[in-house]
Amino acid sequence: MNVIQSKIGWFIRHVRREWQLYLMLAPTVIWFILFLYKPMYGLQIAFKDYSIFRGIEGSSWVGFEHFYTLFGNDQFIRAIWNTLIISSLSLLFGFPIPILLALMFNEILNQTFKRTAQTIVYLPHFISTVIIAGIVITAFSPSSGIVNQFLVWLGMEPIYFLTKPEWFRPIFIGSGIWQEAGFGSIVFLAAMAGVNPSLYESAVVDGASRWQMMWKITIPCILPTILIMLIIRIGNLLEVGFELIILLYQPATYSTADVISTFIYRQGLIGAQYDLAAAAGLFNAVVAFILVMTANTISKHYSRTSLW
C-alpha cells in the first residue's frame, strides 16, 4: 500500500515539475487517441453486416464472411500483388534517390546555386495530385506529348503509354520519384547538418579527399536516419498513393495498376460496402504490422538502430 502511495506521490510531483513537457506532448497523444485508437473500435464492422443507419452496435455479426469474399476474388489477389510490386519497386528506386540528392546538395559550395536547385526539386511536392496527373497525361500524349515527340524525332513510332499495362508502373513510379525525391531529401540534409564539424576538420588535416569524407564520415553518420526512414517506408509498403493511380489508370491497365486501395475504392462505390472495405483495410494493417516488425527486428539485429 505504502509503495503504491509513494509511487503515486512521485508521479504527481514528477508531472508538476515537468508539466511543460507533458503539455507539449498532449496534442500528439490526443491526436492519436482521437484519430487512431478510437476508430479501432469501428474495425469490428469488418466482421459485421454493417448498415450506417443501424450503427456499429445494431449491425449483426457475420464472422469472416467478408474475408472469404475478398480472398475468393481473383481481382483482389491481383491487387495485392500489384500493391507489393509497385511498392517494392518504388522503394527500390525511390528510396536511394533522396539520399543521393542530399549528398549532392551537401557537396555544392556555391550557395546561390544550391538554394535554387533545392527549390526547384522541392517544388513538385507542393503541386496537387490532380495537376501532376494532368502533367503526366499531357507529357505522355501520343500526339502532342514531349516524350512521344522525342520518340518521333528519334524515328520511332509514338506509343500510347497510358493504355499499355507494361508502361504503367514505370510511369507511376517515375512520376512519384519526380514529385517526392526533392522533398524527401530534406530529412537527410538535416541529418547531415547534425554531423559534428570537427570530424571533417580532422579529416582535412589528415589529407582526406571529399570522396573519402563522404564515404567515411557523412554516410556512416546519417546511417541511423537512413535506417529509420527505411523501416518507416517498409511499414507503409502497402500504402500506395491511390489518388494518382485513380487519375492515371484505365480498365486497359488494371492488370498492372489496380492496387488494394483502388480495388476497395471501386468496390465501395458500388453498393457502399463499408464492411468489406474495412475487412480489406484490416488485412492491409495486419500485413503492414508484420512488415514493420520484421524490418525493425532485422535492423536491430544487424545495426542496433531501430524504431523501438
Binding site: S51, I52, I137, A252, Y254, G271, Q273
Partner: protein, 518 residues
C-alpha cells in the same frame, strides 16, 4: 417544448381534417396549415445546399404556411458523404433532400429511417396521387423492395439528351451527303480523315471523337449491340421483359470488332481514353473534330461560339444512321425520373403537413413556381403560359444558374416543365430536336430495380468484379492488344465463373417484383 405541443395540435387537427370525406377545398387553397410551421431540411447537392432565403422558398412558405430551415452544410461537395454523415449521426431532420436519394432511401427507408409514403400520398396528396396513378412505371421505378415509395423524385421533362452531330460544312466542302447508314458513315469518316476538310494541308483531322471513351462504345448500336439501358454507364437493359446486359450480346461482339478496326484505322480519336472532358472544346475550337455524339444544348452552342474563330463552322445534329439490320436507334435519352428529390424522415412529427407541402409543388401553381421562379420578377403570364422576362433571357448569367440562385429548378421533388428550357434553347438545338422527334428514334429506358437484402448481397458480391472484367477486356479489344473473336468464348465462360448469371438472376427477380412479369 412549445413547438412540440404546437405541432401535436396541428397533427391532431390535420388528422381530424383527413377523416372528413376528401378535401373539398384541396384545389382552391394551397394552405397546408393556418399556423406557420417550420420544418428542418437537410438538402445537399454538389453545388449548393437549401437556402432559407431563396425567393421560391419564401413564396412557397407564404402560400403553404410551411417554411423550411436548412441544416445541410457545404463542408463537403459530395452528397453521398453528406448523407452518410447525417444518417450516421442518428439525428435526423424532418426532411432529407437533394442528390443521391433513391438508393439511400430505398435501403434505409425499410430499415426505419424514412417514412413510407404510399399511404400518405393516397390520403393527403391529390396532385401527386393523380400523377402516380397516371404513371405507374415511374411509381414502380422509385419504389423500394417492400413496394413503398420513400421519396418524391425530381422528374425531368424533355426526352432528348444526346444526339449524333456532324460538321455539315465539311460535308459540303467534300461534296458528301449526310450519312444514312453505317457504311456511309464509315465512308464519310474516311473522307474526313484523308481529304483534309479543314484545309490546313495537314492530315490532323479526328473523324470521330467523344468527351468520354464510354460514350464512344455506343457505336456498337450500329451493329445491333447495346451498351447501357439508362443514364448510368454500363447499365443493364430490358428486352421484352428480360433483364440483359449489353456486354454479353452478339451485336456487342460484332460492334466491338468494328470499333477496334475503326480505332486502328484512326477513324476514332486515338487519344480518346485520356483526352478527357476538354476534348470537345479542344477538337472543335482547333477545327479538328468531325463527328460526335453529345448533348443537344451544349453541342449546338458551338455554332454560336465558333462562328468567328472558324468561318463557316456548322455542326448539326443528324439522324442516327441505320444499323446493319436497318434500325435507327438513339440509345441515350434523358431519364424521366431522377434519383434526386426529397423524403420524409421517421423523426418528422408532421408527416401529413409535410406531404401536403410536397404536394403543393405538384399543383399547377407550385410546379410553375419550381420551374420559372417568381411571377413578375422572372416571368409574366402570356396567353396562360409563363414566359421569361426579356432581362432574364438576355442576362449574362445562364438561365438555369439564375433559376438555381432563387431556388427554382433545384432537385426537390417536382415535375420539370420543358417549356422552361425551350425558351432559351438555340435554334440549332430546336432544329435537331425536331428532327429526332420526327424520326422517333428513342427506345424505352431501364429505370433501375430495388433489391431486397438477399438480392443486394448477391449483386454486391459479384457485379463489381464482373463489370470490372468486362471493361478490361473491352478496352483490350478496342486497343488491339487482344482479339474479340478469339477471346469471346473464354470471356463468356469467365463471366459465368465470376457469378454473372447470379447477377442477372437477382436483377430479373427484382425487376419482376417491381414492374410485373411479362
Amino acid at each position: 417544448m412549445r413547438l412540440k405541443t404546437l405541432s401535436l395540435a396541428i397533427m391532431v387537427a390535420a388528422g381530424l381534417a383527413s377523416t372528413t370525406p376528401v378535401f373539398a377545398d384541396a384545389h382552391s387553397s394551397t394552405k397546408v396549415t393556418d399556423k406557420p410551421l417550420e420544418l428542418s431540411i437537410h438538402f445537399h447537392t454538389k453545388k449548393y445546399v437549401y437556402d432559407d432565403d431563396w425567393l421560391v422558398e419564401k413564396e412557397a412558405a407564404k402560400r403553404t404556411g410551411v417554411s423550411l430551415k436548412n441544416i445541410a452544410s457545404m463542408a463537403t461537395t459530395n452528397s453521398q458523404e453528406a448523407f452518410n454523415l447525417l444518417i450516421a449521426s442518428g439525428d435526423l431532420p424532418d426532411i432529407v433532400g437533394g442528390a443521391s436519394m433513391k438508393e439511400n432511401v430505398n435501403q434505409y427507408g425499410p430499415e426505419g429511417a424514412f417514412a413510407p409514403l404510399n399511404d400518405l400520398i393516397e390520403k393527403h396528396a391529390p396532385n401527386m396521387k393523380e400523377y402516380f396513378d397516371a404513371n405507374p412505371a415511374i411509381k414502380a421505378a422509385i419504389s423500394a423492395a417492400d413496394g413503398q415509395m420513400y421519396y418524391i423524385p425530381y422528374l425531368p421533362d424533355g426526352k432528348y439528351g444526346r444526339a449524333y452531330f456532324i460538321r455539315t460544312d465539311w460535308l459540303k466542302k467534300l461534296k458528301l451527303e449526310v450519312p444514312n447508314n453505317i457504311d456511309e458513315l464509315y465512308e464519310v469518316l474516311v473522307a474526313f480523315r484523308d481529304l483534309d476538310p479543314n484545309g490546313n494541308g495537314k492530315k490532323d483531322e479526328i473523324p470521330y471523337f467523344n468527351r468520354n471513351w464510354e460514350e464512344m462504345l455506343r457505336l456498337v448500336v450500329f451493329w445491333d449491340g447495346r451498351t447501357s439501358g439508362s443514364d448510368t454507364r454500363h447499365d443493364f437493359h430490358v428486352h421484352e421483359g428480360e433483364v440483359r446486359h449489353g456486354y454479353v450480346g452478339e451485336g456487342y461482339k460484332n460492334g466491338i470488332r468494328h470499333i477496334a478496326k475503326w480505332y486502328k484505322e484512326k477513324l476514332i480519336d486515338p487519344e480518346i481514353f485520356t483526352r478527357g472532358s476538354r476534348s470537345r472544346e479542344y477538337l472543335l475550337s482547333e477545327d479538328l473534330g468531325g463527328v460526335t455524339h453529345d448533348w443537344f444544348a451544349s453541342t449546338t452552342g458551338y455554332n454560336v461560339s465558333m462562328a468567328k474563330k472558324v468561318p463557316g463552322f456548322e455542326l448539326k445534329a443528324f439522324a442516327p444512321p441505320e444499323s446493319i439490320s436497318g434500325k435507327r436507334i438513339e440509345e441515350h435519352r434523358r431519364t424521366p425520373v431522377k434519383p434526386e428529390g426529397w423524403a420524409i424522415t421517421a423523426a418528422n412529427k408532421n408527416p401529413i403537413e409535410t406531404i401536403k407541402y410536397f404536394d403543393f409543388y405538384f399543383s399547377e401553381e407550385g410546379r410553375r413556381l419550381a420551374n420559372f421562379g417568381i411571377e413578375g420578377t422572372h416571368y409574366d403570364m402570356v396567353d396562360g403560359n409563363p414566359i421569361f422576362k426579356p432581362e432574364v433571357l438576355t442576362s449574362d448569367k445562364p438561365i438555369n444558374a439564375q433559376m438555381w440562385s432563387v431556388g427554382a429548378q433545384v432537385p426537390r421533388g417536382f415535375r420539370q416543365d420543358y417549356a422552361y428550357e425551350k425558351q432559351w434553347s438555340n435554334k440549332f438545338a430546336l432544329e435537331g430536336i425536331a428532327l429526332y422527334d420526327q424520326g422517333d428514334y428513342l427506345i424505352p429506358q431501364f429505370l433501375g430495380v430495388a433489391f431486397n437484402a438477399e438480392e443486394k448481397k448477391v449483386f454486391d458480391k459479384y457485379w463489381a468484379t464482373a463489370q470490372n472484367y468486362m471493361l478490361e477486356k473491352q478496352q483490350a479489344w478496342i486497343l488491339g492488344s487482344s482479339d474479340v473473336d478469339k477471346d469471346w468464348d473464354a470471356y463468356i465462360a469467365q463471366l459465368d465463373r465470376m457469378g454473372y448469371p447470379k447477377v442477372i438472376e437477382v436483377m430479373q427477380s427484382a425487376h419482376d417484383r417491381q414492374y410485373g412479369k411479362k
